[in-house]
């Protein structure tokens, strides 16, 4: 089984960290993983994105031209990446910010109102972690428990208070995705 995912948004939204956390967790779960951030001069003022591939076998290419999962944190990213998703794939969007129309009916769309959820949690900057929780739910590859453990290895869990907060954020995200998926199915 190979899962390819792209995370995309503005530079400031913690997009690379999302991918890093995801990759790290998968690695700790014993998977083959590649994590590929796109960066460079073009980033200034543009969008940031990264690609994570998780597989049980050796990974041929860390690039995903047809990702199975796409996480979209802002409008420009929707335009750029929505069409690349593999048929049957899943699109997770930050529904607080992203309002564009999604013209594909062969993908599952999981809207997560990140900004609202983060605000409720009491920390606006936890939006990206919430989204990772949602992604874990949607993919089924990562367990929330493993994610929680991996948090400590990133900047997201150095201090106990922050760690606790982000653990909750993961759960909030997972729950939100569960609800959205249930809705999608019933629709």
């Amino acid at each position: 089984m190979t899962n390819k995912m792209i995370f995309a948004g503005f530079g400031g939204q913690g997009v690379l960290l999302m991918g890093f956390l995801t990759a790290l967790t998968a690695m700790r779960q014993g998977k083959n993983v590649t994590y590929l951030p796109a960066y460079g001069a073009e980033v200034r003022g543009g969008t940031a994105n990264c690609t994570v591939v998780i597989s049980d076998e050796e990974i041929a290419s860390p690039v995903a031209s047809n990702p199975d999962f796409v996480v979209v944190m802002n409008n420009p990213s929707l335009v750029r990446f929505a069409n690349m998703i593999a048929p049957g794939g899943t699109l997770l969007i930050n529904s607080s910010l992203v309002h564009g129309e999604i013209k594909r009916d062969d993908v599952t769309v999981v809207p997560v109102p990140l900004n609202e959820l983060a605000h409720e949690l009491g920390e606006d900057r936890s939006a990206n972690v919430i989204m990772v929780g949602a992604l874990a739910q949607a993919t089924g590859v990562l367990t929330i428990e493993a994610l929680k453990e991996a948090l400590a290895e990133t900047g997201l869990g150095k201090k106990p208070k922050v760690l606790e907060l982000n653990r909750r954020a993961l759960e909030v995200g997972a729950k939100s995705a569960r609800q959205a998926l249930a809705k999608e199915k019933s629709a």
Partner: protein, 73 residues
């Protein structure tokens, strides 16, 4: 009547708040909505009296993104 006014190009603005910080009359504030690039752009208002701006051009001089044009008259 107002001595001056400015226009802020919402899409050029990157929300750096420098104009806000230099405006001696506090006529500029950051808006609560994002622009297409994902920034919270600055907004101009003439204030309660309607004549906040003196066309001092400090904001425009400072704006790194040339988002501000200043009018006097």
């Amino acid at each position: 009547m107002a001595k001056g006014k400015i226009t802020i190009d919402r899409e050029k603005c990157k929300g750096c708040e420098l104009c806000v910080s230099v405006c001696p009359k506090q006529c500029i504030a950051i808006s609560s909505g994002l622009n297409d690039k994902g920034y919270y752009p600055a907004e101009f208002s003439q204030g309660e009296e309607g004549d906040c701006c003196t066309a001092c051009t400090l904001c425009a001089l400072t704006c790194p993104d040339i988002a501000i044009e200043v009018y006097r008259g």
